[in-house]
């Protein structure tokens, strides 16, 4: 392998490390040594001659490999992702350090692509995409340099630079072609793979609500920065958008995970929420008092959502494009969404009308019992102690409302908030409750729910999104994947559902990106743009095409002036380069049906024209043009004027 390829391979490996880092699954403490080894590769290569070095290196790689495998097998499937990715980058660094006469760089290329593929499943969209573009811009020149150097035994520095320079247009062309195909290719966002179906068939819940909140699992799917939804209040004011948008309600806690309400009821239904009904216009409504109505237009960008997120007080949900969509009204509190095969993929829009009234449902005994059930195991004893303590501190121990509020306040004051992946993050509920480790919203919500149920207050856990990021440019609330949130709804004795969010609000906001800074704004815009690209579906394509067809009709003048301007630019450029007499000569020749051949003088052209079938007038014009040209170009400057 030529030495000149090495810098590009280093970059490639560095980008692979960045890919893995973007998933957030692998600890930086593991990635940094790999980065150092990558950066040191040019020097380490010289050591490869020595047997001792090779022994040490291979031994070290084997040990690291064994450690990772051991970690994966002992910790169970929880760290599968982390270990897999660590293994992949370890392989990459090992390959890079062994590239040489015997080890061709082919495997480095392939492994780097594989790392990109694997991380594409977990990394945030925008970060990954930016890394991918960089990756493509490095991969293509390295391939090219590799292809050139395989024939060439050695390449000078200047030649290598020329090759890389020449390959950059290729790289850009590849990226552009990829982008075009990616956008234009009809993509079926709802396509289900047989592998997934096979997996789901073996699962207990085939109802399409397989979501669960698993506390022991360190949140396998990392929170993405992608914009999931845009909430547009017609008023254009941020305060008109409710903050908590529920997707799924969880009512059963099995000690480690929360199961969705509709999945856990096992066939027997009981009333917990006002029922949804379809009105004559096709919208879904439910009986809530029409007081303080607010309307919000929701643009759901994430095509994979299987619920229509809506606030607790949603009164009316009007789905604009109902074709191919099936709304499930029995999804507790909210509306479930099933997409049929012929459903338009991608974004969908609906309008939510919220009431300011309380949501009151008379609780039945079975429902109450279900909502206060605690698992036989998995609840830390500390929960019961704490609940008793809180009840004792209340002025009226039986007032469920004040108990709920006290429990919420206690948690938000005494427990710290942190996102998964930060150092010291709670590994389980016990750690969080005892107070040694910070936790995220699911821990807060679970703790609150357990506290309430321990005191006999019926409640459920709700998963959804917290809308807090106002985009002034779009006049909309942006909801991202990372805004996913969990909170508690308590069912008070009078039948009112009360939203209780124990997560300290300041911490949640501080952890999300500061969107008021210019940088945040740029990132938000980029993400929106990227969301349009990734969500570019058949409907959007049709709209774009229609707009493209309409544009010349609606802006005929603009199009015409644009064409004229383009023509003028081309014409003037050409004209500036050729002299007037030469132009005249060409024109006269064209008029006479002739064209100046290569190596032909104007006089020879004239001679040819005389023999051709040109009319005398044209011939005379050509003669005059040739004479004028001759005079202007060949005569002594002083003699030119006759």
């Amino acid at each position: 392998m030529a030495e000149c390829l090495l810098p590009l391979l280093l970059l490639l490996t560095g980008l692979d490390l960045a890919f893995v880092h973007a998933t957030g699954a692998v600890d930086l403490r593991l990635l940094l040594p790999m980065l150092v080894l990558t950066a040191a590769a040019p020097w380490l290569r010289h050591l490869q001659r020595h047997f001792t070095y090779r022994l040490l290196w291979n031994g070290g790689v084997l040990i690291a490999f064994a450690l990772i495998v051991q970690h994966a097998t002992t910790t169970g499937l929880v760290h599968m992702l982390e270990d897999g990715l660590a293994l992949a980058v370890l392989c990459q660094v090992h390959l890079l350090n062994n590239v040489g006469a015997r080890q061709r760089p082919d495997l480095v290329f392939f492994n780097s692509l594989l790392v990109a593929f694997v991380t594409s499943l977990f990394a945030p969209d925008l970060t990954w995409s930016l890394l991918f573009v960089l990756h493509a811009l490095v991969l293509v020149p390295s391939l090219e340099l590799h292809a050139v150097t395989r024939g060439q035994s050695c390449l000078t520095r200047a030649a290598a630079r020329a090759v890389v320079r020449g390959s950059l247009p290729h790289a850009v062309a590849v990226v552009l072609a990829t982008a075009i195909v990616f956008v234009v290719w009809p993509r079926d966002f709802q396509r289900r793979g047989w592998f997934n179906e096979l997996l789901e068939a073996t699962q207990q819940f085939a109802s399409g609500a397989a979501e669960r909140i698993d506390l022991e699992h360190e949140n396998g799917a990392p929170l993405s920065d992608a914009v999931v939804a845009q909430l547009v209040p017609p008023s254009g004011r941020a305060e008109d958008v409710p903050s908590h948008w529920r997707s799924t309600a969880f009512s059963t806690f099995d000690g480690a995970a929360w199961l969705p309400q509709d999945a856990s009821e096992l066939g027997s239904r009981f009333a917990t929420d006002p029922a949804w009904e379809r009105d004559r216009s096709g919208a879904w409504v439910r009986s809530l008092a029409e007081t303080g109505l607010r309307r919000v237009r929701v643009r759901l960008l994430d095509g994979s959502q299987r619920r229509l997120p809506s606030p607790l007080q949603a009164r009316r949900v009007d789905l604009q494009q109902a074709a191919g969509l099936l709304v499930d009204p029995r999804s507790y509190g909210g509306l479930g969404l099933l997409r049929l095969a012929d459903a338009p993929a991608g974004a969908l829009e609906y309008t939510v009308e919220c009431s300011a009234a309380r949501v009151v449902v008379a609780p039945g005994a079975r429902a109450r019992q279900h909502m206060t059930a605690l698992p036989s195991s998995g609840v830390p004893p500390f929960v019961h102690d704490l609940a008793a303590q809180l009840r004792r501190d209340l002025p009226a121990p039986d007032d469920q409302l004040s108990l709920a509020l006290a429990a919420r306040d206690w948690l938000s004051e005494h427990r710290r908030y942190a996102l998964p992946g930060t150092p010291g993050f709670a590994q389980n509920l016990g750690e969080f409750l005892i107070g040694t480790a910070p936790g995220h919203c699911e821990y807060f919500a679970t703790a609150l729910a357990l506290l309430l149920r321990s005191s006999g207050v019926p409640c459920r856990l709700v998963g959804g999104y917290l809308a807090h990021e106002w985009s002034a440019a779009d006049r909309a609330m942006l909801v991202r994947g990372r805004d996913a949130h969990a909170w508690v709804e308590a069912w008070l004795p009078d039948g009112e559902w009360l939203t209780l969010d124990a997560t300290p609000p300041a911490d949640v906001l501080a952890d999300s990106r500061p969107t008021n800074s210019w940088w945040g704004g740029v990132v938000a815009d980029l993400e929106l743009m990227w969301a349009t690209v990734t969500g570019f579906d058949a409907g959007q394509r049709a709209r774009w095409l229609a707009a493209l067809v309409r544009f010349p009709q609606e802006h005929a003048l603009a199009v015409a002036s644009l064409l004229v301007a383009a023509w003028a630019v081309v014409y003037l450029r050409r004209r500036r380069r050729t002299l007037f007499v030469v132009q005249q000569l060409h024109r006269a020749a064209r008029n006479a049906g002739m064209q100046l051949r290569d190596g032909e003088t104007p006089r020879e052209l004239l001679g040819r024209a005389v023999l051709s079938a040109a009319t005398p007038a044209r011939l005379a014009a050509l003669r005059a043009a040739a004479l004028a040209h001759e005079r202007a170009r060949y005569m002594k400057p002083g003699d030119r004027e006759p």
Partner: protein, 322 residues
């Protein structure tokens, strides 16, 4: 002149990887970024195919100079390609159906080394095509283009070394001296054609003192023009391979010595011979003859008899080695 394409090892492996990834993509639920990567890989492959093809498409051969050269020595070729300028091609010649690599052309504007033909045995071969292969740009596919050409590749014997001074030291006893006798040159410029008055520029060595004294004006000898000198050699092709090659090398050296001397060399042999003069054309013909000739079995007909001509290989040694 069709460009032929086939995947390289890297390309084949890449194709397998892509197929595996597509299978994985289809087996699982739709994933946007996974799809993006598959599109990227396919684009690299597709554009790579087009560009590899386009790299050699329309390339023509303007000129191929394969000069005669001595056996066992590499020689530079003159090669000029026309049409589009291909990048990173390796050039090979098809010589009598055999592929001979002659070098690479980077085509990135830097100075290109002239293609170098590796050492070849003495032969008269036909170059049937110039073969260009390139894996540019991505190394996923290899394009091959054969540009037909009809040229003769003359590999004449390497001239014998000229080492009279230390020949005894350099030679072992078994070596014979076929390669060491120089072309006879005793007559060179010695024939006196007549006398004439001295002109400025004449050599004093040519002064005819007797005549000068007789006539009272300086008189010089006028010498015969040198171009008329000729040397006859008879090459007997009935000898063992090694001796035959040595004799050819010796002839090659004589041929080289003709250059600029104004003399001519006539070689007689079985089945014709050649006449070499001090000009390029006859030298080329002689080289061609020397490249093509082969040794004959001992039972073959003897070479024509030419009186006064030197015989090669020397008959005295011929019996000993034959």
């Amino acid at each position: 002149m069709r460009v032929r394409l086939r995947p390289t090892q890297l390309g084949a492996k890449g194709l397998l990887l892509l197929l595996a990834l597509i299978a994985a993509f289809l087996a699982t639920n739709y994933n946007n970024l996974f799809f993006l990567l598959i599109v990227f890989c396919t684009t690299v492959g597709g554009l790579g195919l087009c560009w590899t093809w386009g790299n050699l498409r329309g390339v023509t051969l303007l000129r191929l100079d394969a000069p005669p050269g001595p056996a066992g020595e590499a020689r530079a070729l003159g090669l000029e390609l026309g049409g589009r300028r291909p990048r990173a091609v390796s050039v090979a010649l098809l010589v009598d159906g055999e592929v001979v690599e002659v070098g690479d052309r980077l085509g990135f504007g830097s100075a290109e080394p002239a293609p170098l033909l590796p050492p070849r045995p003495r032969a008269l071969a036909q170059i049937t095509a110039v073969r260009l292969t390139s894996r540019f740009p991505f190394g996923l596919f290899r394009a091959r283009l054969d540009l037909p050409v009809a040229a003769e590749l003359v590999t004449h014997p390497a001239p014998a070394a000229n080492h009279h001074g230390h020949r005894r030291a350099a030679h072992t006893a078994t070596d014979d001296d076929d390669g060491d006798q120089p072309l006879p040159q005793g007559r060179r410029g010695s024939a006196v054609a007549g006398l004439r008055p001295f002109r400025s520029g004449d050599s004093f060595g040519d002064m005819h003192w007797k005549a000068t004294a007789r006539r009272g004006v300086p008189i010089v000898r006028e010498r015969e023009p040198e171009g008329d000198l000729r040397c006859d050699l008879v090459l007997d092709r009935r000898c063992p391979e090694q001796r035959f090659e040595r004799a050819l090398s010796r002839l090659m050296r004589d041929l080289a010595a003709l250059r600029g001397s104004g003399r001519s060399l006539v070689v007689h042999s079985q089945g014709g011979g050649f006449v070499a003069r001090d000009d390029r054309k006859s030298e080329l013909a002689a080289q061609r003859w020397l490249a093509a000739t082969t040794s004959l079995p001992a039972a073959a007909a003897p070479p024509p008899h030419v009186s006064g001509a030197e015989r090669l290989p020397r008959s005295g040694h011929g019996g000993r080695h034959g």
